[in-house]
């Protein structure tokens, strides 16, 4: 497992980095509008209505953005939590923690891919 983790480290780190960079840039307005303003009724009612949401999301660019929005934060989260686990709990459990977290991110990314194809 240790060898395998070392092998995939560069790619994981790349995804993590993009999670921090692109993830943050996309999430700022996503969280603000979808997570807060819309539920509070502060945006026009039709803005995120099904028709419009689907039109935006199913556009090729929309699909790409949505995939980034799903996958990149997952990798950022998984990688950071792995580090947090090491810093708090030590290195011994890494052989379990890392595969679980990265597995979650990988599955989530695959599911995301499937979800945007389904749109």
């Amino acid at each position: 497992m240790h060898r395998f983790l070392l092998r995939i480290e560069p790619i994981v780190w790349l995804l993590f980095g993009q999670g921090v960079l692109i993830g943050t840039i996309l999430l700022t307005s996503w969280v603000l509008v979808v997570g807060m303003l819309e539920p509070l009724g502060l945006v026009p009612a039709d803005a995120l209505a099904y028709e419009r949401a689907l039109r935006l999301g199913a556009h090729p660019i929309g699909r790409l953005v949505l995939l980034a929005l799903i996958a990149l934060p997952l990798w950022k989260g998984a990688h950071h939590l792995r580090h947090l686990a090491i810093e708090f709990g030590g290195h011994a459990r890494d052989a379990v923690v890392a595969p679980v977290l990265y597995g979650l991110a990988a599955l989530g990314s695959l599911a995301g891919l499937f979800a945007i194809i389904r749109l």
Partner: protein
């Protein structure tokens, strides 16, 4: 006061000729003083993981038709979820502010003949993109354009 570090931290592969006292972590680690910002940065991992999963749920719901999409939207309207998003929003801003400050110096001084611009320029550009993209994306989501 201090917490023990990993017993092998900075130990040579073959132990020295005399017994040593085990390594200790720096006094303030991992919560205090200089480590607070870093530990919080790491802890935003929870938030991002959650946001990634929520985004997945959103897209899944959208793909499931009108009813599932409305259901998803309704689930976001609970005070609990709104609070979660408020915390997330602060976290995301924190990640951006901390990371964009550290970003420029992590760039190699050159790639082949190409040299990155000076740090203040990179930071300014990052903020410009961050704010520009956020305004644009927010405008699209909120129905202002497209």
């Amino acid at each position: 006061m201090s917490v023990p570090a990993h017993p092998q931290a900075m130990a040579p592969s073959r132990p020295g000729r005399t017994r040593t006292a085990p390594p200790q972590r720096p006094d303030q680690a991992p919560f205090g003083g200089r480590y607070r910002s870093h530990t919080l940065f790491g802890a935003t991992g929870f938030v991002y993981l959650l946001l990634g999963l929520l985004a997945l749920e959103a897209v899944w719901a959208l793909g499931g038709g009108s009813a599932s999409w409305s259901g998803f939207q309704a689930s976001l309207a609970s005070p609990f979820m709104i609070a979660i998003h408020a915390i997330s929003f602060v976290s995301v801003i924190f990640v951006g502010v901390r990371f964009f400050r550290l970003f420029p110096k992590a760039q190699p001084p050159r790639l082949g003949p190409v040299r990155p611009p000076p740090a203040p320029v990179i930071i300014a550009a990052l903020y410009a993109v961050w704010i520009g993209a956020s305004v644009l994306f927010a405008a699209i989501l909120a129905g202002g354009i497209l």
